[in-house]
Symmetry: C2
Subunit: 630 residues, 2 copies
C-alpha cells in the first residue's frame, strides 16, 4: 500500500524527556490526524478521572496528512485535552499558520504530558526539538511573547502557538492562539497548557508537505481561488466574513440577545456586517495558503473611545453575537476592544460574552450588585463595563476571578435563582445561535461530547432549504423542514453532519474552504485526500472516521462518568419563552420533541438508549474494540 | 440539479392496459434502479401475504442510470418479485444483453402485475410497447422461442428475456434467461413469470444511453480493457472464468460434495478449470460491451456420450459445484448436458443440483428408492441419472414433479429423516460454498432476505487476507481472520459488504467487472456514476442506498411474517461434522459463534434484536418512513 506516514513528538514536561514515534501507515489510515488522532492519544494516555489541571492531563496538538498541501483550507490544527470547564474531552480547531509550519518542521502531532517545573516553551525546527526556559515571558500578553520569541530565536518566520496571561492564571475558558488572531478557542485548553507551565510551542520548518500527486492538488487550489474571485457568495464571504451571520440570524430569531432571552434584535444593524465593514474594516485576513480570506482585519488605532491594536484581529460573528448582542452592547468599538483584550490575554470570546451576559442579567434581577463586583456595574448595554470586565477576567482580578470560572461554577456559587439564568451544557457556554430558532443547534448543544458547539453539525440551512448536493452526498434527502423544528429527520441530519464534520476536523480541513474547491464538496475533499496520500479513500471510510472520533470522545466522557443526564439543555430553554417580537418570539424548545430527537440521535449512533454511551458492539464496529478493554 | 431521469413501463397483464411513469429525479436519486428500484415497486404495489404464483404478485425488471454506458459491467438487470420458493422477496441479477437494450428502447424498468388470460409476450421497441399472443410459443424450449421471436418481429438484433417450459410449469426454481445463456436464475422468478402467462419480453432500441460525461466513461472503459489484457489475474479470469473456484474452494474445504457432507474432494481435478478448458472450451463468452468476458463458451457437439448444444453456454462454477461435486458427478460432459437442459427448460442449476444431491443422499440412506421415482436410480456419482433427473424436473414429469417443488417441500413430504438431510434456508437451496469453510457465507446464507446467496457479501478472501483497498474503502481494517471463523468482525464484514454489493446491484453493475476499472474499485465506481448522471454522488450515499434496499427487503419479508427464526442455518450445519480429509474435515459451524455473529449483524444494521426486523427508527434513517406507514 502506497501512502502516508509521519512523526509524532511525545514530550514529558515533568522530566523534559522527549521521543519520536513513527506510527505505521495503518495507524494513519485508522486515526488519520487532527481531531481523531487527538482523541486517540487522549484516551490512550490519560488516566481516568484525573483533574484537568493536573499534570496527568494529556495535551495533543495534531494535524493531518493534507495539512500544508497549499490549497485553501489546509492550514488547520486541532488541540485536544480534558477540559477544565466540562470535565469531559475538549477538542478545538484552529486555523492560521501554525499547523502547516508543524508539518514543514517534520511532525504530525505533539503530545504533551506532565508539568514543567518552571515556565518553558517548546521549540521545534526541522526535525529538532528542545524545551527552553520561558520565565521571562510569563505574565506578558501574547503580542509581546511572539515578538520576543522571534527575536530570541532569530527568525521572523517562526510560528508561535501560545497561551496568554489568562491561560497562565488558569481561566477556565482560556484559549491558545497563533499569529495573535487565530484561536483554538474553546473549553479551556489554554488553562491546561498553563497548568503545565508551557507558555508556547514555536515551530519552524523548511520541508514541504509530501504529496502523492502535487499537480492535482495545484489544479484544485487554482480552481478554488478562481471560485472565490468569481462566484457571488464566496466573493461576498471574502468581503464580510462570518459577520454576515448577524443579520440573517437576527431575522430568523437566532441571534442571542440579552443573555438568551431574545433571538431577534431591533438594533442588529448597529453590529451588522455592513456597519462593521464601513466603520472598521481594513481588508480580509487569511490563513496560510488561503484564497478565501474570511478573517476580519481591522483598522489600527480606532478611537471612539477605545484604541484598538490591529495586530490582534477583528471580532468574528461569534464574538459580535456573544460580546455584543448577548450583552445588549451595540457599540462595535467596545466589542472590538473586548475582542482585543480577549486576544491579548488569550481567552474564548464565546464563554467570555456568555459569562458577562449572565452577570448582566444577575445585576438586572438583583442577584448581583456593585457590592459583589468591587464597584463594577455590569448592566446590559454598557460597553465600558464590558471592556472593564474582559480585562478583569483576563487578569483574574477582583470579580473577574469569579467570572473566570465560567457561568456554571459562578451560578453554583450564587445559588438557584442565578442557576435558572445560566445557559450552559456540561458547564460550557453556548455559541451565538438560539436553540429556539435552530433545531439542529438545540440537539448538538446538548449531545456534543465537547459541549455546546456551533461547528459540529450543519446549521439547518441545508436541511431547511432545498436539498443540496452536500446533504444528498450524506444520504439526507429530506429537505424543507423548518429550521426550529426538532423532528426525527433533524436527529438524522445532526448525526450525519456531525460525522461528516468530525471527519473534516480529523482531516484538519477548513469547513468553509472545502466548499470553495468546487460544487461537489465531499467528492472533491475525497479527491484531495487521495491526491495527497495516494490512498483509495472513500466517503464511507471518511464518514466512519468521523463516527470513530465521536465514539472515542463519548467513550472518554463515559469513562469520566458522563451519561445522558449531561446531554441536557438548561431548563430555561424549555421553560422561558423568548421576549422578542421576531419570528421566534415567545418560543421555547419543545421538551418532548427534544427528548424524542435525542433518543433518535442515540439510536442512529447505536448507543445505549439509557446512558447515551457507546455499546461494546458499536465500538467494535468502528474499529475501537481496544477502547472497551481499556 | 443536473442529472438523470427516465421512464418506467407499468403493465397490467389482466387487462392489457399499460402506462408510462416518469419519476422525478429525486426518485432516481433515492432508489436509483436495479435491485433497489425493484424492491421499491414490489413493496409499494404488492398486497401483503398473497401467494407468489397468484396474479397479485408484482414482477419488476429494472436497470440503472449507468446501464448501457458502454463499459465492462454496465450490462446487467435485476428481476424482483415475491418468491414461490421462499415466500419472501426474490431479487436476482442477470447479465447478457437485455438490460442495455431496454435502456436503448427507452425504459428503466418494466413493472408487471396481473395475469394474462392467454400466453403473451411483451414487445418493447423505441418507446413503443405492445402485448402479443404467445400461444404458439408455449411449451417450446428457449432457443426455439428466441428464433421464433426474431423471425416474427423481423429483427435479428432483438433481445429476448424469457422463461422456458420449467417456468410455464411453475417449477419453483424456474429461471429467466436472455440470449439463452444469461440468467436471472434464483428463487423461482421464472415461475412467477409463468404464472402470469408471460413467456417473454422482447426489446429493441436505437437510442443511446444519455451520459453527462461520455468522454470520461470512454476513458474508463479503455482502462478497463487494457487491465484485462495486461494484468495477470484478469487475464486468467478471462481464460478460466468462475470455474477457477473449483480448485481453491476444494483446497479450502469449501466445495460442497456429496450433498454437503464434504468440503474437499479428491476428484476435484476432474472438474477443475484446467480440465474444463482442455476438454470443452471454445473461448470466453461475454455480456454487452464487456472486455472481461468471463463466460464459458463450449464446443458444440461434444459427444461422450451426450451431444451438447453450444448456444446454451457452458456451466459456470456454481453449476459445476452443485450439479457436479455435490452430486459426486465428476463427468464434465454429464454436467454440461444437465446445464444445457437447465438452460433450455430455463431453471436454476444451483437449486437443481441441490435437490438432486439431496435425493441422492435420500437414496443412499434408503429414504427413497426406485419405486418412488418411477424406476430412476438416483445414486451419487451417476451422471446419466443426473441428466435424466434434470429433464424430468424441467418437464415436471414423473418424480421430477416432486423435485420441481425444491428440497424443502420435498423433504416435508418425505418426513423428518429426510428433513435432517435438507440443506436450505427459507426453503431455498444453498449455492456452492461450504458454510463450514466460509464464515461470511454461513452468516449471509442465514440472514439474506432473498435466501442463501453467494454474491451478497465478500467471500472471506479479503477479510482473511491482507487488508485491501476495497475493504478499507468500506472501513473494514481487520484483516487476517481465518476464513471459517465467525467472529464479530465477520458480522461487520458481512453487513458492510452486503450493503456495498446491494448498492452495486442497485446500480446494476457487474461485481466482477467493476474490479477491472482500476485498483480503486469503489472510488472508480463512484466516478462512473457521476460521469453518467452528473450527480455529485458519494460512497456514503452509495452505502446508504445498499442499506435502503436491504431494509426494504427485510420490511417486505417482515410484512409476510418473517422473523429471526427464518434467519437460521439447517441443523445439519451445526450437528454433522464434514466427512472429508481436507482442512475443514470434521468441522461444523459453531452454533454459539453463529448466533453471536447474527446478533452483532442485527445490531450493526440497527434492527430489532429479537425479530431481526427493521425498526421504525432505522426505516426513517434510511429514508423509508413511508414503509412503516404501509
Amino acid at each position: 500500500m502506497k501512502g502516508y506516514t509521519g512523526k509524532i513528538l511525545h514530550v514529558d514536561l515533568s522530566t523534559g524527556s522527549m521521543e519520536v514515534e513513527q506510527p505505521p501507515q495503518e495507524f494513519y489510515r485508522r486515526y488519520v490526524g487532527g481531531a481523531c488522532m487527538g482523541a486517540y492519544y487522549l484516551f490512550k494516555l490519560m488516566p481516568p478521572k484525573v483533574d484537568a489541571l493536573s499534570p496527568e492531563n494529556t495535551l495533543v496538538f495534531s494535524i493531518s496528512p493534507v495539512v500544508g498541501a497549499q490549497i485553501s483550507g489546509s492550514a488547520r490544527h486541532c488541540v485536544t485535552a480534558k477540559s477544565p470547564l466540562t470535565g469531559g474531552i475538549a477538542s478545538s480547531e484552529g486555523g492560521g499558520y501554525w499547523g502547516p509550519e508543524l508539518k514543514f518542521a517534520g511532525f504530525d502531532a505533539v503530545v504533551l504530558r506532565g508539568k514543567a517545573p518552571e515556565p518553558v516553551y517548546l521549540w521545534i525546527h526541522d526535525g529538532e526539538f528542545e524545551l527552553r526556559n520561558a520565565s521571562h515571558l510569563w505574565g506578558k500578553v501574547t503580542g509581546e511573547v511572539q515578538d520576543a520569541l522571534r527575536a530570541e530565536l532569530g527568525d521572523k518566520g517562526i510560528r508561535v502557538a501560545q497561551i496568554g496571561p489568562a491561560g497562565e492564571k488558569l481561566v477556565r475558558f482560556a484559549a491558545i492562539t497563533n499569529e495573535l488572531k487565530h484561536f483554538n478557542g474553546r473549553a479551556g485548553l489554554g488553562a491546561v497548557m498553563g497548568s503545565k507551565n508551557l507558555r508556547a510551542i514555536a515551530v519552524r520548518g523548511t520541508a514541504k508537505a509530501d504529496l502523492q500527486d502535487p499537480d492535482r492538488v495545484k489544479e484544485m487550489a487554482k480552481a478554488a481561488a478562481s471560485r472565490v474571485r468569481e462566484e457571488g457568495f464566496w466573493n461576498e464571504f471574502k468581503k464580510y466574513g462570518t459577520t454576515l451571520n448577524v443579520t440573517w440570524n437576527s431575522d430568523l430569531g437566532g441571534l442571542p440577545t440579552r443573555n438568551w432571552t431574545m433571538g431577534t434584535w431591533d438594533r442588529r444593524d448597529a453590529i451588522s456586517a455592513e456597519t462593521y465593514q464601513q466603520t472598521m474594516m481594513d481588508g480580509s485576513g487569511t490563513c496560510w495558503a488561503c484564497a478565501q480570506a474570511c478573517k476580519r482585519d481591522i483598522k489600527g488605532g480606532i478611537e471612539k473611545p477605545w484604541k484598538i491594536e490591529a495586530r490582534y484581529g477583528g471580532p468574528e460573528y461569534e464574538t459580535v453575537g456573544m460580546v455584543g448582542s448577548n450583552c445588549l452592547v451595540e457599540d462595535l468599538n467596545a466589542i472590538s476592544k473586548a475582542n482585543e483584550i480577549a486576544s491579548k490575554y488569550c481567552m474564548d470570546t464565546i464563554s467570555l460574552g456568555g459569562v458577562i451576559g449572565f452577570v448582566m442579567e444577575c445585576f438586572e434581577k438583583g442577584i448581583l450588585s456593585a457590592r459583589d463586583t468591587g464597584g463594577l456595574e455590569l448592566r446590559f448595554g454598557d460597553g465600558a463595563a464590558l471592556v472593564a470586565a474582559a480585562e478583569l477576567v483576563g487578569r483574574r482580578e477582583g470579580f473577574g476571578d469569579a467570572m473566570a470560572e465560567g457561568i456554571a461554577r459562578l451560578a453554583e456559587k450564587l445559588g438557584p435563582e442565578a442557576g435558572r439564568l445560566a445557559v450552559t451544557v456540561k458547564g460550557k457556554e453556548f455559541p451565538a445561535h438560539m436553540p429556539t430558532a435552530k433545531g439542529m443547534m438545540a440537539l448538538i448543544y446538548a449531545v456534543n461530547p465537547f459541549g455546546p458547539d456551533h461547528v459540529s453539525t450543519d446549521h439547518d440551512g441545508g436541511i431547511a432549504g432545498e436539498p443540496d448536493e452536500t446533504l444528498q452526498g450524506l444520504g439526507i434527502y429530506d429537505g424543507k423542514v423548518p429550521p426550529h423544528e426538532l423532528s426525527p429527520v433533524k436527529a438524522k441530519a445532526v448525526a450525519y453532519t456531525q460525522r461528516a464534520i468530525s471527519a473534516i476536523d480529523s482531516w484538519s480541513v477548513c469547513q468553509f474552504c472545502f466548499n470553495t474547491w468546487s460544487i461537489g464538496k465531499f467528492t472533491d475533499l475525497i479527491e484531495l485526500i487521495n491526491a495527497s496520500t495516494g490512498w483509495k479513500y472513500t466517503m464511507q471510510e471518511f464518514m466512519q472516521l468521523g463516527e470513530r472520533r465521536i465514539n472515542l470522545m463519548r467513550a472518554f466522557n463515559a469513562r469520566e462518568g458522563f451519561t445522558s443526564a449531561d446531554d441536557m439543555l438548561p431548563e430555561r430553554m424549555f421553560a422561558d419563552p423568548t421576549l422578542d417580537d421576531g419570528p421566534r418570539g415567545g418560543a421555547v424548545v419543545d421538551r418532548e420533541s427534544f427528548l424524542g430527537a435525542r433518543e433518535e440521535y442515540y439510536r442512529i449512533n447505536g448507543w445505549d438508549p439509557e446512558s447515551g454511551n457507546p455499546t461494546a458492539s458499536k465500538l467494535r464496529e468502528v474499529g475501537l474494540a481496544w477502547v472497551q478493554e481499556d
